[in-house]
């Protein structure tokens, strides 16, 4: 399905990125940790959203659970970071499995809406849990050495992307795509849709939660507002959709580009960056509703007219 070139390049990129802490400066590492974690989130979202087409606004639930699982394990039980990550990941996966079974019965928009509500509910619940520091949050021990966080984030992204690579060429991935293309037909052809959807959600939760755990330890502070942040979830969606949902490298490329653009804006025009962020979303939806990969294919075929063809297709 995929040529050899992208793979070779991807490996090269990964090697270059792994070297950043040695030849880059602190800023690059800082930016890198954020960009890599965001790329991981977009890639995790891709597993469910890109392959099965189920638009989840509940991934921030798993991010929050990973965050809190790690934080609670480290602060209340003095467990090492590695164990904290596992705790966070297990909690998030359990939640994904338990919640996934009822809400993945919902199709399309209903599912998106239910997950949106789920995130609100989870934030509200956690902010009432004393063990999670209620609404105040938890302060984690401080660890110096951002290079470690950086390499961890990179490793996570690599593993997550390898997982997606495997999915894209496996029987498992065929099932997910079949569900996306037509769930009823897939069912009639022997695809156990519930099983595949729930496992995809659980896989997605796994990587999302670990990213949350890494972020928690790195930023040393978690609170419900930032752990269960719908905006973060929207960002995952935008990055994935921008890069190309259901592709292997699209979400990663999409999130790298958007992270870089946003970082430049945030430091150059500070306040107006938000406005720009909003405008970009609006314009992107109007002109490139099918994402970057479609944009590139479309632009190759028909140049700038591609943009207006999209409008013609979707307008009233």
């Amino acid at each position: 399905m995929m040529g050899r070139w992208p793979l070779v390049l991807a490996v090269l990129v990964a090697i270059v990125l792994a070297g950043v802490p040695w030849f880059g400066n602190d800023v690059a590492v800082q930016f890198g940790i954020n960009a890599l974690l965001l790329a991981t989130l977009a890639q995790s979202w891709n597993i469910l959203g890109g392959f099965t087409g189920y638009v989840s606004f509940g991934n921030s639930v798993f991010y929050g659970l990973g965050t809190y699982g790690t934080a609670v394990a480290m602060t209340h039980f003095n467990l090492p970071f590695g164990v904290g990550l596992v705790v966070g990941a297990v909690v998030a996966m359990l939640c994904a499995a338990l919640v996934g079974i009822p809400i993945l019965r919902l199709r399309g928009p209903y599912f998106a809406i239910a997950t949106l509500g789920l995130n609100g509910a989870m934030a509200a619940i956690v902010s009432n849990l004393p063990i999670a520091g209620s609404n105040i949050g938890l302060v984690l021990p401080l660890m110096r050495g951002d290079a470690i966080f950086y390499e961890l984030a990179l490793a996570l992204l690599v593993v997550c992307t390898l997982t997606v690579l495997w999915i894209s060429s496996s029987r498992y991935g065929m099932a997910l795509v079949a569900i996306r293309e037509d769930e009823d037909a897939a069912g009639s052809m022997g695809v156990n849709a519930t099983l595949y959807k729930v496992t995809a959600l659980v896989l997605s939760a796994l990587f999302t939660a670990i990213a949350g755990g890494i972020h928690a330890y790195w930023s040393t502070f978690v609170d419900p507002a930032s752990a269960f942040d719908t905006t973060l979830n929207v960002r995952m969606v935008i990055m994935c959709v921008f890069g190309g949902p259901g592709t292997v490298f699209g979400p990663v490329v999409g999130s790298f580009i958007l992270s870089a653009v946003y970082e430049v804006l945030a430091s150059e025009i500070s306040t107006a960056a938000v406005l720009f962020f909003g405008l970009v979303i609006v314009l992107a939806v109007v002109f490139t509703p099918k994402g970057l990969t479609d944009l590139m294919a479309g632009a190759r075929r028909s140049g700038w007219r591609y943009l207006f063809r999209n409008i013609r297709e979707n307008r009233l």
């Binding site: 998106a112 009432n128 909003g278 979303i281 009233l316």
Partner: protein, 285 residues
């Protein structure tokens, strides 16, 4: 007595909640757009009422009527100039674009109105009266009445006027609008305009009860969203009823569990309703 008063609080607040959700439910049900900028439009409406009140000295309730006309225009233009371009694309895209709109409107509001708190504070703002031993805050009572009246007006429009019939027909089938001799683009814009006007009214009433800041939008969107789902998208009175259910549930949660639990209750209700009876509440999308 405390319980009775708290129920009353919940019901009165619920009326306003319902009005907030009314516009969202209309736009959602007819245009199939889940408008995440709805709360921002409520906020905008609040500011419009505030400025009319402050600069012309017009009574806030009269100002709401004026603001509804202005907000109708805003909504009409938004739909006609922007949202009409994407209504036929996937739901995800309408979610994203309205999220983007929310960000833009909030930013512009903070730019134009500053982050200062604004309150629509007519002389009678704190007035109250007693009934059956309960204290009834005047403004909240009035807000409740306005909410019911607007729901009734919307019901009348949708069920008794040709325009309303055309709108309802459109929600079933896009081409149907043409049968009524209306350009669907205009019809969509009018529908969104009505939704925005209702948001404007809700914003004005909200501004008389609580402070306006440019940042209230997101939480109001979430609230409207919950209520639109609980109340359903088809009948305005059910939406108001949904608001009242949420208002009462939140008030009782505050009484029995503490005020920090009100969100647990409303979001919990949302998820429950969706999981238990998804198709009852929403039309097939």
């Amino acid at each position: 007595m405390v319980l009775a008063q708290i129920l009353l609080n919940g019901i009165l607040l619920g009326g306003l909640y319902g009005l907030m959700a009314l516009g969202m439910a209309l736009v959602w049900g007819v245009l199939n757009i889940v408008n995440l900028a709805h709360g921002a439009l409520i906020m905008l409406g609040g500011y419009v009422v505030y400025y009319i009140f402050v600069f012309t000295g017009l009574d806030p309730f009269a100002a709401i009527a004026v603001a509804m006309v202005i907000m109708f225009g805003v909504g009409f233009l938004l739909q006609y100039g922007l949202l009409n371009l994407i209504v036929r694309s996937a739901l995800l895209n309408t979610l994203l674009i309205t999220f983007g709109l929310d960000v833009v409107i909030t930013y512009l509001a903070q730019f134009l109105f500053t982050a200062d708190f604004r309150t629509i504070n007519p002389s009678y703002a704190g007035a109250n009266f007693s009934a059956f031993g309960l204290t009834v805050p005047g403004i909240r009572f009035a807000a409740f009445v306005v909410a019911i009246a607007l729901a009734a007006a919307l019901w009348w429009l949708l069920n008794r006027r040709p325009l309303g019939l055309a709108i309802r027909a459109t929600s079933q089938n896009l081409v149907a609008a043409r049968l009524y001799g209306v350009d669907p683009r205009i019809l969509y814009a009018v529908t969104f305009g009505i939704g925005t006007a209702l948001a404007g009214a809700a914003g004005g009433l909200y501004g008389m009860i609580a402070n306006l800041t440019p940042y209230i939008g997101a939480s109001l969107t979430a609230k409207s969203f919950v209520i639109a789902i609980i109340g359903g998208l088809t009948n305005p009175f059910n939406v108001i009823l949904g608001g009242i259910v949420v208002g009462i549930a939140e008030s009782l949660a505050t009484l029995y569990f503490g005020a920090t639990y009100s969100d647990v209750v409303s979001f919990g209700l949302l998820v429950l309703v969706l999981v238990v009876r998804p198709t009852r509440t929403l039309r097939a999308a």
